[in-house]
């Protein structure tokens, strides 16, 4: 099996789906000619392969990019558009949330909007809070959207292919750090279903729910805790909407303890949703208080020590696990 970063995996998925279905096209800022001349980037080489008709560089106009996807998808095309960085979602949010997500409902089920919006996310580049700001909680709170946040290249590939084939708008968020983390990617054409979590590590003492880059933080924390005799189960959500409640509840019923880890800021983050689901549906299984390990409620700072402070680390996560291991 080849080793690749997530950008390369996304690239493969795009290439394969574009080859399979002439209705698939990609558009966005620099998806064709880019300032990044690197094969690690998700759309590298696609312009050369598929030409200007299907690989559309757009002006710096996020609302128009998103609207392009809405309109073209209504016609039965399958646009995959890129909003360069997650914070710029704000500029596309009217098109996505008030249109892509709602127009089918408003049509009484007559229209469909099979589009994918890819967004880069994640801190760690010293770029500051206008580039690094994880906003998955916004799209999760917008009925009509599906939300996918893979943690490995292989899953990114399989999930993106499913997202492109899905008849609904899918928000697909890629942590940029994972472009540079090489992991095995199968060369077959596996589709990974949207809406299914994956247990990345089995354990019996505590459940850590995470997604995207934080899955690796969780796995590192689990290793650390294993040394202390705690057996941590890591549930990788992969898809946030629709949420695989069953996977979460099954794990929590087994372990009786829950920690959620996300990079996004704390207040109003998606950890709250998971806590609510568990408190509603597995209350009696819980042996210890819930813990969240998240970014603090601050914009992401640029300076390296500050940015490192922002990021949930395996150590902080292990600390939280330790706290509740001592209870219940």
């Amino acid at each position: 099996m080849q080793e690749a970063g997530m950008g390369q995996a996304v690239n493969e998925a795009l290439r394969e789906e574009m080859t399979r279905d002439p209705n698939v096209f990609i558009a966005g800022e620099g998806v064709g000619v880019s300032i990044h001349d690197s094969p690690l980037m998700p759309t590298h080489g696609l312009l050369e392969e598929f030409g200007e008709k299907r690989v559309r560089d757009t002006p710096v106009s996020e609302a128009a990019i998103a609207g392009l996807a809405v309109g073209a998808s209504e016609a039965g095309m399958r646009p995959v558009v890129e909003i360069m960085f997650n914070p710029f979602f704000t500029l596309a949010s009217d098109m996505i949330v008030n249109h892509a997500a709602k127009l089918r409902y408003l049509s009484g089920g007559k229209s469909a909007f099979p589009l994918v919006v890819r967004m880069k996310s994640g801190s760690g580049f010293g770029a500051g809070c206008q580039h690094s700001h994880n906003l998955e909680a916004w799209v999760c709170h917008s009925p009509g959207l599906k939300v996918v946040m893979p943690s490995t290249p292989a899953e990114a590939k399989g999930l993106l292919r499913s997202a492109i084939r899905d008849d609904n708008p899918v928000i697909f968020i890629e942590d940029m750090n994972l472009y540079f983390a090489f992991m095995p990617v199968p060369e077959d054409d596996t589709l990974i279903p949207i809406g299914k979590a994956d247990v990345k590590r089995e354990g019996k003492d505590v459940t850590v729910v995470a997604w995207s880059r934080m899955v690796h933080t969780a796995l590192a924390a689990a290793e650390q805790m294993a040394g202390e005799g705690a057996d941590v189960e890591v549930v990788d959500l992969r898809t946030l909407v629709p949420l695989d409640e069953e996977a979460i509840l099954t794990s929590v019923k087994k372990t009786g303890r829950l920690v959620v880890c996300h990079e996004a800021t704390r207040t109003g983050g998606f950890a709250g949703e998971i806590s609510a689901v568990v408190m509603e549906k597995a209350f009696s299984s819980l042996k210890a208080p819930f813990r969240r390990v998240t970014g603090p409620d601050i914009p992401v700072p640029a300076s390296p020590p500050l940015e490192a402070f922002y990021l949930p680390s395996p150590e902080k996560l292990a600390g939280a696990i330790r706290e509740i291991m001592n209870q219940g």
């Binding site: 106009s61 809405v70 209504e74 646009p79 098109m95 049509s107």
Partner: protein, 320 residues
């Protein structure tokens, strides 16, 4: 360019239908609790939707806005299903989920109606992109107001459509008001059409109360788009004879201004011309009026006798 008698008849019928439909709604809106939501009408502006849609083929697409009824009827919407949707009934075009403001009718190629001001413009660009991509012999028309032309979405969309030479016709219905704000109170520009130049796109100001001029401008823009010549921005000058919506008392609209524009009503203007040209008689006009009146009454009857959706129907149609 010469307009056939048939086209003129089509426009006349469509304008009268739209007017009677609107007048009926004005009446119904006075009855407390009858029509849910904000009913927004095109009374006085009918030449725009009716003239533009007469220039289109059924395969052409329109994207419309909060002031959609005229556009939809002109594109061929069934008055029964339209009225039922306005009543929020289960038999309406969108099963009552949309109500008066966002009626989508994909079956007549009017697939997206949005009440977010300016929201239809990027979508129209996307729809036209699909037409170009597939080499369809069809265009997309986007209807929006003068106020909408101040939204960022207008700007980004027109720039992109011009850049890619997409087959789209941008129809700005300048009805003097955006809500309670007069045109000259929301921009210092002399016209919206002037903005075309900034995107390298032709822009024209056209009399929006003259169905023939409306039709001709739309026909030309469509032709240009079909032949690969890209988008056109047409600003039709017209007037909103009623309030922004039916709940608006129009306290800020000068009475004599309304009256003056009512004098320029596009319906007698076209029917008068047609009679003068000998392609319509008073008698035929009377029968047309009667027939339309009946169909509007029938639409109301259909809507009134239709059931509301069941509460749990609310849960359907979120995902495909």
């Amino acid at each position: 360019m010469e307009i056939s008698g048939e086209k003129k008849m089509e426009m006349l019928r469509s304008m009268i239908l739209s007017r009677r439909f609107s007048e009926k709604l004005t009446e119904l809106c006075k009855i407390e609790g009858k029509i849910p939501g904000m009913v927004i009408l095109s009374t006085g502006q009918e030449a725009v939707g009716s003239g533009v849609c007469a220039a289109l083929a059924p395969r052409d697409v329109i994207i419309t806005n909060h002031r959609s009824h005229n556009h939809l009827l002109a594109k061929g919407a069934d008055p029964n299903l339209l009225m039922a949707e306005i009543y929020c009934k289960k038999t309406g075009y969108n099963k009552g989920k949309s109500g008066t403001l966002h009626i989508a009718v994909p079956e007549i190629n009017a697939p997206c109606t949005t009440t977010v001001v300016g929201g239809g413009i990027p979508i129209a660009v996307g729809r036209a992109f699909a037409q170009q991509y597939r080499g369809e012999d069809a265009v997309t028309v986007c209807f929006f107001g003068d106020g909408a032309a101040d939204e960022g979405s207008f700007h980004e969309s027109l720039n992109l459509a011009a850049l890619w030479q997409l087959p789209v016709v941008f129809v700005c219905e300048n009805n003097v008001y955006a809500g309670a704000q007069r045109f000259e109170e929301h921009t210092r520009s002399k016209s919206i059409a002037d903005r075309g130049a900034g995107y390298g796109m032709p822009g024209f100001v056209v009399d929006g109360n003259n169905a023939a001029s409306v039709f001709n401008a739309a026909r030309e823009a469509r032709q240009l788009a079909l032949s690969g010549g890209g988008p056109t921005l047409i600003e039709y000058r017209t007037y909103r004879c009623r309030g922004h919506g039916e709940q608006d008392p129009q306290h800020y609209q000068p009475k004599d201004e309304i009256a003056a524009w009512m004098e320029k009503c596009p319906i007698p203007r076209l029917s008068g011309d047609m009679i003068a040209e000998g392609i319509l008689t008073q008698d035929q006009l009377g029968r047309l009026e009667d027939e339309i009146r009946d169909s509007v009454e029938a639409a109301v009857g259909f809507a009134e006798s239709s059931p509301y959706p069941e509460p749990e129907d609310a849960l359907e149609d979120v995902f495909a």
